[in-house]
């Protein structure tokens, strides 16, 4: 039965930085081998969530279960051996790779820290990993500054995967890269995930790459999840007004499609996470909000036949609800 138990279970996760309520009660699971896209705009708390999951941040309250064990409040010493099971890749590979270490040292570091193998077997493993991420064996002696942005991100991936984690958190791994390089890194993550079978929490603001890579998508707004659904369903039938607005705002690279879409332009900016609006946090920008939205917090609840999760008062239990504009869905 181990195959069906989730790799990651986030329960009521809260992370406050002083008065800033970055993550304010999130529940999310990731199944073995599943890619879950976590999308949201700057300030939504998505990166903080990723950093809490990998325990790069202390968690204020709640649970982070990795392979069944809650790591949210474990002391460092007890946490360290468990770190083999998960790892993270960051947005900017030039600032997340040590400039004074060679590629070989960078990629083998997790193996050394977890005392996996012998020096010889680790060297072998590095060669194998570099091959898996599409880098030639010669790069082992190079330093990060000698590599291109795309190559550096491949090194980051090799490092993150070297100890064979069951969960990879990828935080905007392609956002700092050029379009053509982005494509190769997205392809690579997809291929590695299929070959090695790790589960992945893929954090991004780019809906198109989520559509390409994820099986399930969670949408975050101001510290809370507002919608969680299967990829195809979310893109075909976005239910939460914020999800609809987000989908309609992302331009589709095709003039005929793009110019015939009706768009929802949100007014105002995301409110401050120091003092989030009462009720539904999106109500200040929501074009269809009613009185109830400004007072009662909508729970994230299953709706419709597929059991997609939506936190909106206006979405009915059968999954029907407000449609803000037509042509928002990018797939029918």
């Amino acid at each position: 039965m181990r195959g069906t138990a989730p790799v990651l279970e986030v329960v009521d996760l809260v992370k406050h930085f002083g008065p800033v309520r970055a993550v304010d009660g999130v529940n999310l699971t990731v199944a073995p081998g599943e890619v879950v896209g976590l999308v949201g705009e700057s300030g939504s708390g998505k990166s903080t969530l990723g950093r809490c999951v990998t325990r790069l941040e202390k968690v204020t309250s709640g649970e982070v279960r990795v392979n069944g064990q809650d790591i949210a409040h474990l002391p460092r010493r007890q946490l360290r051996p468990l770190r083999r099971a998960f790892n993270i890749v960051f947005q900017d590979p030039s600032s997340s790779l040590n400039p004074r270490m060679t590629v070989a040292d960078i990629v083998s570091e997790p193996l050394r820290l977890h005392r996996i193998g012998t020096p010889a077997s680790r060297r072998e493993r590095v060669t194998e990993l570099l091959d898996q991420v599409g880098l030639r064996a010669e790069v082992v002696r190079r330093y990060p500054h000698e590599l291109s942005g795309g190559q550096r991100q491949r090194v980051s991936l090799a490092r993150a995967l070297s100890a064979g984690p069951s969960l990879l958190v990828a935080d905007e791994p392609t956002s700092a890269l050029d379009v053509s390089v982005q494509a190769s890194v997205l392809n690579l993550i997809g291929r590695l995930q299929a070959d090695l079978g790790f589960a992945c929490l893929f954090i991004t603001h780019d809906l198109a790459s989520v559509e390409f890579l994820a099986q399930r998508v969670a949408v975050m707004y101001l510290g809370l999840l507002v919608e969680v659904a299967d990829r195809a369903e979310l893109f075909a039938r976005p239910r939460h007004p914020y999800t609809q607005a987000l989908l309609s705002a992302a331009p589709i690279p095709d003039p005929a499609t793009q110019r015939s879409r009706q768009r929802i332009v949100l007014t105002g900016d995301m409110p401050s996470p120091v003092d989030p609006p009462p009720g539904c946090r999106f109500h200040t920008r929501c074009p269809v909000a009613v009185a109830q939205c400004s007072t009662v917090v909508p729970p994230l609840r299953p709706v419709g036949p597929s059991g997609a999760l939506v936190a909106c008062h206006l979405v009915h239990d059968d999954g029907t609800g407000p449609v803000l504009a037509h042509g928002v869905a990018v797939r029918s």
């Binding site: 705009e41 700057s42 291109s148 795309g150 050029d178 379009v179 053509s180 390089v181 982005q182 494509a183 190769s184 997205l186 392809n187 997809g190 291929r191 603001h205 809906l207 198109a208 790459s209 559509e211 390409f212 893109f235 607005a245 987000l246 309609s248 705002a249 992302a250 331009p251 589709i252 690279p253 095709d254 003039p255 005929a256 499609t257 793009q258 110019r259 768009r263 332009v265 949100l266 007014t267 105002g268 900016d269 995301m270 990018v330 797939r331 029918s332």
Partner: protein, 332 residues
Amino acid sequence: MTQLLTVRELTVRFRTEDGPVFAVDAASFDVGHREVLAIVGESGCGKSVTAMALTGLLPANATITGSVTFDDVSLLGLGESSLRDVRGRDIAYVFQEPMTSLNPVLTVGRQIGEVLRRHQQMRGAAARRRAVELLELVGIPLPARRIGEYPHQLSGGMRQRVMIAMAVACRPRLLVADEPTTALDVTIQAGILDVLRNLRTEIGMAVLLITHDLGVVADIADRVVVMYAGRTIEEARADALFASPSHPYTRGLLDAVPNPARHAEGGLREIPGRVPILASSPDACTFVDRCAYGDDLCRSSRPTLAPGPAGHPVRCWHPLPVPAPAPAGERV
């Protein structure tokens, strides 16, 4: 009808410590009155340098040749003081990062007032009134209050609107917008693109849009110039470029973007290699080393920009044929 801006054989070379860099190689294009022309390409293709060269914004180690004609006036021959009159009054700029383009210690009203004083000799209450009008024009709520605020009090989207308000203060005929939405979230980006669209109608200006984002191009551009390694390699109306890209690089860019509307089977197309940094202008195609169709002709002879199979100009010895139209009903 004559063109608003005519650029012919614009060439920019930089002297650097690592030797000469050939940044722009004989670029020629026009911008019509009220037209939105997008220049697209990846980092290092020369698109920003082209934009800066138009009004002499490049550092002293740049050598510029060719001709730039704006409204029948040759700009490359003008002295610095005449160029200063042109900048802001006739041709205005908006850059990617509004926080570094705005002065952090001056209020928004003061910074807009500076433009009005410099070019229109407007002062005091009149300048203040005009500043409020301008903020209103770019969709900033409560403009009378906002003009007393400092840049750090504004969100990224609001700052970019302030930058646009400053740029259009003198009703320029041409707005050069260099990656104006790249640092912004998609819901904010949608608002900024709407502002640009409205301004074009309201004050009748043309826009030269520098971007790497094909979604933005699909949204707003009338015509597109694709640049690669300093050369313009394809030029077409936006719909024609997306429907029948003739240059393999253009095609590669389009296929590299995850696009839900034309979902690629079996992964995204990758373009191997990277944009070369050239010390001189080779008598060859600069894309040949990354191109699937490259042959001896491409290596030994510089392609000219000539009408291709789809009717629009392309710089390629082996331009791609016009794709067969998709059977009806197959498009999503």
